[in-house]
Amino acid sequence: MNELLDMFQAVARTPMIIVAAFAGTAWGIVGGAMPGVSPSIAMALLLPFTYGADPASAVVLLASTYLGAEYGGSIPAILIRTPGTNSAAATVLDGYAMKEQGKAGEALGISLYSTLVGAVFGVLMLLTLTQPLAQVALAFQPQSYVGLGILGLSVIASCSEGSLIKGLMAGVIGLMIATVGTDPVTGVNRFTLDHPDLLSGIPPILVMIGVYAITNLLEQTSTPPWVRTNSNEARLKIPGPLMRARLRLSQVIGCIIGFIEGLTPGGGGAISAFISYNEARRWSKTPEEFGKGAPEGIAAPEASNGAVSATALIPMLGLGIPGSNSAAVLLGGFLIHGMTPGPLLFTKHADIMSGFYAGKVISLLALFVLGYLILRPCIWLVNRPKHYLMSFILALVLSGVYAIHGSLFHVGIAIGFGVIGYVFKILAMPMLPMILGVVLGFMVESNYRRALVLSDGDYMTFIEEPICAGLLGLAVVFLAYSIIRHYRDAEKAKQTGLTA
């Protein structure tokens, strides 16, 4: 009850939260509907704008974009058989089949309704679980932060996108980037090339804008123009009571899987959508209809996407560990405003977090209203020639990055990371491990050395401190599980290849 009151007070103090929730959701729907613009890219493009905003509105803007993009991705998936986001790929199967049967509006309505159901469930989990998680973390010592950082880095194994060794390399490169700047203990300059702009290190936000937004622009230069959508086909139809009852089981499946996968680092997005689709088919009384226009085939993955958009934020807010690209960009939004997600976030910035939660709730309403209202303008915008859209995105990135610190050197750094991201794509290196290294590197190093100074150089301090020992144990378990799963998947893929 108190939390609810705090949320109301936060909105009363900062009414801009409402505007941010609606604006973020609207941009998310439009961004998600553009093929090739993932939720994390849509969010990264907004990062510079959040710099001048108040902290609560800034993070609400980004989190609402994430939610909006999860729904937006399903629009081209249903209308033109092209998922706007990776997580909408499962929606193509039955969404496009329904469109072929002349039920595009119904399919879009099921998608919106199911994303909303999943998001409501996800937000409830977010409100319930994040703060207790952070409460536990209040007892943290420097050693515990080292354990937490290493637990965060163990995530690398599960988000290596098929190549564990490349994921590890990317993670180490991220850690290397985090060492640029003034040394946290001695104040000595490291890898700064005597450039004053590098003394305070490379801001993670520049790395994120570079590897997400600019890299995507570079990739888009050689992809064909997007297929146009006929906006006359898009009259959204919200499901009636009978249809809602029919979708219930698949939505419950989507919510549960979205919840579990959202909490699992590297697990959200396309993976959870496809698992939900598969489980909904397995539990269905008419599995033969899947792939031929079954409404449950849209409901399950979309409910899962909605749930993930909230539950993926639980480890990021409670422990400071971003488990997905979108969570990493949102973390960047927190960092811009001097808030470090993790144990102290809820005590140091309690009022902002109440505003954030309020914004998440408002964004649910925004999704329902805007999902219905802006479908046609959204399709109009996405139908603009690709070369105009891409040139405006480039202009937005160049203007926005300069706006962060008023430094052209930083614009150059962001472009540089765009190139690095592009090289990573060519070499099939995963991006998220590098981002994890950049975000967690400073925390791991500064606390590791502080803990050793406090214990007179005794390395046993990391084992003797119970929280650190527990977190390190968890990291080992998580790493072992990820490695076993990695090799099991590789083995399975090899056997499938042989059979084929």
Binding site: I165, V188, I214, H387, S391, A395, L398
Partner: protein
């Protein structure tokens, strides 16, 4: 050459360069047991080790001939280079030419480069787009973008 082998060799080169740079970090008077170069050296060893494993593993795998996909990647990389050049020219020229003109130029050249045709609508879109960007960033958000040489030039002409 195999993509993974290239990745491994590039990683190894980066690890060596980073290790050499880490070795040149001054210890400082407040140095702790680990020192400012302690973790960077460990990172260099780790990257070197992982890169070596990747490269060696690739050498023992079957050689894969260059496929059509890799050829198209070269084409894609060349296309991407054009956008990098446009962005780099923007960074180099905006302090002199100023934000409104340069952002209009970026919109126009990027659109042309990505398949747009030189036409009045394109010119109009660039000008209106630049005006919109200037309005949002400079007027609404009060973010001072580079003005270029124009204010100084006008000042001189007045004097």
């Amino acid at each position: 050459m195999n993509r993974d082998l290239v990745t491994g060799l590039m990683g190894l080169a980066l690890a060596i360069a980073y290790y050499l740079a880490a070795s040149n970090i001054a210890a400082g008077q407040l140095a702790d047991d680990v020192g400012p170069d302690g973790l960077p050296r460990i990172y260099a060893w780790l990257l070197g080790g992982f890169s070596l494993v990747l490269a060696v593993r690739t050498l023992f795998q079957k050689a894969v001939a260059t496929s059509a996909g890799e050829v198209s990647e070269v084409y894609a990389a060349k296309r991407a280079l054009g956008i990098i050049v446009i962005a780099a020219v923007y960074v180099a020229a905006v302090p002199f030419v100023g934000y409104p003109l340069m952002i209009a130029a970026v919109i126009a050249t990027a659109a042309l480069y990505q398949g747009g045709r030189l036409s009045w609508p394109l010119a109009l879109t660039s000008v209106l787009g630049a005006a919109a960007f200037w309005y949002v960033f400079v007027y609404l958000l009060h973010i001072a973008q580079p003005e270029g040489i124009w204010p100084e030039l006008i000042e001189r002409m007045r004097a």
